[in-house]
Symmetry: C3
Subunit: 645 residues, 3 copies
């Protein structure tokens, strides 16, 4: 976040935002007044306009048509509805790809991805970049001071990857900037393995189709490069709109748990962060996953954030796109507010009659306003309006004593090909730890691996496969200063150049946890390890274990039976004024819940409310404690006295 | 069908046809007399010749060799065996693709499909079209009046799709012809979604590889175009052979349930229809699927049809190619005659020693004539000869009071990507309704969605995802006139341009059924909905349900429990002089059987025979009632008195 | 094997070899002395150097750098450690592919496989061949007489396949050499099927992407061609190193059960054979598969062989790469010595910190020498040193009375597309027969289908899908001379040009077994056939059965129930002075074990030791009987008196 400059408060202006993506270009103009009338009926105060309007705004190269958008913005403004204006650059018109085939992205196999869908642009292509910037500037020039304008929405769900020759050229430039010298790159990429040493910069290419499997550091650097390249696109458009109106906050919309885009780095370039969130209504874990995704947003943005997209009904891209049952959309919307959102927007306002998203839910569904969904839309609008009146809620923080470390480098590297267990998914590791705390109504933040963690009683590091010595030092300092840390397995394995640490793992974190791991011991499906522990009771663990030894830590749990019989699997180490746990396996849900309950008890971490029925979620935000019942039966909640802060 | 001109009767000449594909070019000439001797022994009266003989007929460009074919036709004719002469255009010789690489088809990724297999032609390539027409005309010129010639067999199992630049050009022409104006196309394709608006015709391309997923209407139109393009190839060859001998009937061979080829439109261009049918002997549903496929053929051709290919043993292309058990081939052959076939041909006469189909069954298997299979071949030949003597059987119709609507547009559109449930298969919906009637020995026709259905007591519409207002009016007229109709779910959703109907579904069929559906409610696997009904008793339903309300219909069954609790799932509406049911879900087999039994009872629809043991199929054709026992045990059938017509 | 010339004994020089791949180019020079010190500590006497060192040896085209390798070889030599010097040609440096893109291989789709991995070379590319030969000659010129040199290791795990235009040209040359005349090729390829007749040599291409599925004989010939082409690469390098030092034995490393490389033909071109073997520690069948792979090596080499690679820990390329439990590496190493290996090498000496194999086990793991794995390394070194002192062990043969026929043509052809059962895997057929004998501690050799088998009491032919008349005659002569043979199903089906034998199967083996098979009867999963037999007791069989009749053989077992009810499935035929069994199905493990026990009893085939506990493997080699306990519990072995030879 910029220290100075506009923020989400400049968009909310004191009211929780409510509304959604509005694509008037899909409808004849006589529908527009009806749209605005229904928006007012539903309590909508923000409409996101223009996300996929490039072809409508620039029907032919350089020929702009803003008349329709002038009308739409005027209609909205007259009705008191604010506008999130999007740069339409996520989907260029066919004329661009037809005139400049080099703007179409290429896959690893060299096959061009054609227009006729979306995201069909090469982020390196100068013709794309020029055209994208031109339409952005034209929009900004015209609307930067439009009274309806509340915020800029740059592009959409950035994530396009291209491996064409021009991206190869840009990649080489990125590598030169990172490594300076070709010898340094050769060393960092480990090109002495398999005779891959590069003798000229011009030999370097993206990870295209190979005979076997490619270099892992090439893969990782290309992920980093692609992320940087997209962020460069974002920043170019951000700066273009700022140039015309620096008072308007700028954001772009993240997706749930999305590896290609490093949330920490992107958040630092935005005025506030936004989330597109689509938990699967058929997934019993959806309430937890939704809570976690929202907590991640609050943490990335270090404060209030905007729920930019969710579906009032089905998401159209699932194999089975079941709608939300009655009340579910309200429930998940309130979960967003509880967890720090200052606005709840949907994709989209009126269901598209055509195109690939015609089966996607909408605030005004195909059935029209006389429908369950539109009635729930109106009720939600009214409820958010009422909540906007609660003093101290809007903009309020969500207190948390626990932080979970989330690190994109660890994530990307842990999931490279040919790691010891290809079923080891980084986000599963996060939910391993998040879920028991969520069930216990203990609120968590997410945090970077490095930096000051001193404000947390407890820091959980479910996995930190890659770790720099600097980040290791920060974690050690946190514990030494009295903090408590729990470190999960397959951590401290590699440095940021994906060089394996030698001498035992978790590498630079060994002293902190008082453990030395000699071998990773992935477990095949159906062959769990039995764990015995006086403190925690017996439990099983699956997927992963390690051949570890204590170099000072107390052994809390050991393997029983099998090749690891008797070896320590959970250890606790006093370090300075604090305590560091090491969990060398993936305990069952019950086992990990007991372990975390113990750690929370030790550190004085408390739930928002105790003794709630299963499925009832409690979150405090500012003056409000939200109680969210995710079950479908009736539940009774008794609160005696005041709820503790 | 043409009103005038030759038909299947000109090929049968009063005898059920029996024989199969005969590829003498795979064998030395000294085998041919032995072939003919064995054919006579087996009662063969028709041999299909030349399907894959292009390279033998035209070994080098423009150099024809008909000598061997002259000999073969003479040998057959001398033995009294008729000939189905094929145009060999389904598999061009390597010299064509080598000399003109542009005749090799391209996939969505631009990769050419090479020769060395079959179907390796681009149907747009002028070089292919010219060469195919030339060999066709040379054949027709030479053999159109050959006394052995009974029918022309054009190409083989049409279905090739190509996305090359020349197909792109043809596609643009097809689109211009369909839409006339680019604005009309943009509107029909919904290009305002995702900024896909085309500003010049030259920008339009086939659905090639894209970054995400392509435009559904582009996909659908390309399916329609590819179908038309192939039919254009068929018609060009048809007209070429007719020019030389208008007295000879012309057909091409369909496949079981094949989406790329719209049977109604193709049948209209043929003199009679033919079927290649390969039910899996390991599939317990094969007898039902075979019956249905045959009923489809009878319906497409509006009368007798020809079974062009089936295997006397295994089909070689299955993962597990189990042969037919003793007697099974006879059983399925008689099923064809019972259901309207005037001939039973096999692929193929003598098993190929080489090539990809060397493990495919044949009338003369690898083991030779001293074999179970050849003995069964001879017995079948004798039995068909005896049946040919049954007066009134050959050419007779198969009476049916029930029609099931089969619609290729609905099929293709319902299975586009990103529909609400990607496990919703159109042909499964057909079998949902066909199977209980087949089990009850109630004979069904298939029918187009539009047109006059007045001759049926009952019309079943298992699905009509896409429906035009004209077809909707025809269905309404049928019911208004006293008919009974049952409409299945996910119907009346889109118009023929794949625009979703607004205001509630089934769109233009809403008044007919007295129902308004607000939301589609696909169900994940393992989560059925419970249905309760006083009339039908309780049952479960899976995969699909809907949030519906009656706008006038009686509610016959409702959901119990879950988010749809209490909502109507089966409804019955009086409409004019008739009745329309709406089934908003996919009932279990038992539930749907009870519903259909009820509807049949209401409409006076009766089985061919009542009270037969399970697995015994009864079909009336002309004067004969066929009783086909699909079980492997013994079964007793008692018939008291005459079988009712 | 060459009759004269060096052999493995010239490499072992009286000691079992112990060591592994050593890649000093991955480490700074100051690590090298430590490597050598640790090697001495571990008892290492051979280091494989240079396998992937091309880029280090030739950093730029034509610029060689041998200084580092001089140093390494000197260090090793000073420590008394021998060297297996590799030609580094399995992984060209990036400069080769960058300068000559034509050296990068192409897939069937025409997509180039890029550098950045390994095996990225087209074996036809003259630029690759020239550069590979040049670096090989430079190495040989410099080191052929180096005192540390024990053997040449050519390339690595040959197996690259390319379908580029230059390979197409070479393929045409290979076809001309094989068939001479285009008509002969057309006949052999069965191009009369599907109109594939070639009219010019220039039309012939590799099996590139096709619309449906390609010609099976084209596929098979391309497999044979690719094998020959790679062997040509091998031989070129072999001859190059021999030219500089004919006294040094030459090998290349095979992989476990690898279809692309015909072991019999390659072994004939090597001085001795070597194996890279990676059984999965999580696979309960690994001990048996390991034993079989080792027996194959001994048989291919007709004597002692070298275990070139195995992992002391995990193999990094599995989905779940679990390390070996304590003791397992020792166990499998001793299994190799017991089954004829005169050396036990590992991949690799020191774990790579980078690259795709960074999670692969090593003799010195990432944890360093203070580790379980390094301690086991040292113990194994000491144990092998002690075994080297056992008189008569090194170089000794492993006696076997049973041979299993292993035939690459049958393997490749039986697994072509569109065979009757695509789950019929040739290697499964080998283990069907190998496993019960291995469990019974009966040692087996493997043998070619043709040639003299007279030294075996029993010959097992689990499958011989393709068989030449010459091989059939050899097998018949073996039985006629008093031998016993067991032939499995789906045998004698096709000749070496993949033409199906007519008149009944097993084709030219029909008289030998006294059986005529009319039809193959593959069985779907979950539908076994019941078999009854007075001699063997009842058993079930799955996946495959046949419609067979005896033409003279005694029927030992018959199907009960189902379509094959009463048909013979196991038959025994007296033929000359011997006996031939035919097993027309795939019996359950128990059924086949009883059958083989019966055959062994009949032929006097005896186990090495009788009555051992399950999981204990006994193998005799020279003066030693190895007892290998594959279980994890305690087991007691009592031997009364001497163990019979």
């Amino acid at each position: 976040m910029r220290d100075r400059g506009p923020g989400l408060a400049d968009a909310t202006r004191g009211r929780l935002l409510f509304g959604g993506d509005y694509n008037p270009e899909q409808w004849p103009p006589d529908v527009w007044p009806d749209d605005v009338r229904l928006m007012r009926q539903a309590g909508v105060n923000l409409a996101t306009v223009g996300v996929f309007a490039w072809a409508a705004l620039e029907p032919a190269p350089g020929e702009y048509d803003f008349a329709w958008l002038d009308t739409v913005l005027e209609l909205l403004h007259e009705a008191g509805i604010g506008v999130a204006l999007a740069t339409p650059t996520a989907s260029p018109p066919p004329w661009l790809g037809h005139r400049h085939p080099g703007t179409l992205p290429q896959g690893p196999d060299g096959v061009r991805r054609h227009y006729g869908s979306r995201m069909h642009y090469c982020p390196s292509a100068p013709e794309y970049r020029r055209a994208a910037l031109a339409v952005t500037e034209a929009l900004a020039a015209r609307y930067a001071h439009h009274p309806a304008l509340r915020l800029w929405h740059i592009g959409n769900e950035f994530g396009t990857v291209c491996l064409c020759d021009r991206c190869a050229e840009r990649f080489r430039g990125w590598l030169r900037a990172r490594y300076g010298d070709l010898d340094v790159l050769n060393e960092a990429w480990g090109t002495s393995v398999w005779s891959q040493r590069y003798s000229q910069w011009s030999q370097l290419i993206p990870p295209r189709t190979v005979q076997y499997i490619g270099n892992p550091q090439q893969d990782l650097d290309f992920q980093r490069f692609s992320d940087d390249l997209l962020r460069e696109c974002f920043i170019a458009e951000r700066d273009a709109v700022r140039a015309f109106g620096p008072h308007v906050p700028v954001t772009t919309n993240f997706m749930d748990f999305y590896r290609p885009v490093d949330g920490w780095r992107w958040a630092a370039a935005e005025d506030f962060v936004s989330l597109d969130t689509y938990p699967d209504p058929n997934d019993p874990r959806a309430p937890m996953l939704g809570a976690m995704s929202k907590d991640v947003m609050r943490s990335l943005g270090a404060g209030p954030w905007l729920l930019m997209e969710q579906s009032p009904g089905a998401a159209s891209w699932r194999p089975v796109s079941t709608p939300k049952r009655p009340g579910l959309h309200r429930l998940w919307s309130l979960q967003a507010v509880a967890r720090g959102a200052d606005g709840v927007l949907q994709f989209q306002w009126r269901a598209s009659r055509q195109g690939l998203e015609r089966a996607h839910g909408a605030m005004v569904p195909h059935a029209g306003p006389d429908s369950r969904v539109f009635r729930e839309t109106c009720a939600l609008g009214a409820e958010l309006a009422a909540l906007s009146d609660v003093e101290g809620l809007l903009g309020a923080p969500v207190p948390a004593d626990v932080a979970i470390v989330l690190d994109w480098d660890a994530w990307r590297a842990a999931e490279l090909p040919h790691q010891p267990h290809d079923g080891f998914r980084y986000t599963d590791r996060l939910t391993d730890y998040y879920e028991p705390l969520w069930r216990a109504n203990i609120t968590c933040d997410f945090a970077r691996a490095g930096g000051d963690l001193g404000r947390y009683r407890l820091v959980l590091v479910p996995n930190l496969y890659q770790v720099s010595t600097a980040a290791a030092a920060d974690l050690a300092a946190y514990v030494a200063g009295g903090g408590t840390l729990v470190l999960g397995p397959f951590s401290g394995v590699a440095d940021p150049e994906e060089r394996i640490y030698t001498g035992g793992w978790p590498g630079p974190l060994r002293d902190l946890v008082g453990v030395r791991v000699e071998e990773h011991w992935p477990l095949p499906d159906g062959e769990p390890v039995e764990v015995e522990s006086d403190e925690l009771g017996p439990f099983t663990a699956a997927t992963w274990a390690e051949w570890a030894e204590s170099t000072g830590a107390d052994v809390v749990a050991r393997a029983r039976g099998g090749p690891l019989d008797g070896r320590p699997l959970v250890l606790r180490n006093r370090f300075g004024a604090g305590t560091a746990w090491y969990v060398a396996t993936l305990p069952s849900a019950g086992g990990l819940a007991r372990l975390l309950a113990r750690v929370c008890a030790d550190t004085g971490v408390r739930p928002v409310l105790d003794g709630l029925a299963p499925g009832v979620e409690a979150v405090r935000r500012g003056p409000v404690v939200f109680l969210l019942d995710h079950g479908t039966g009736r539940v009774e909640v008794r609160v005696d006295g005041a709820i503790p802060d």
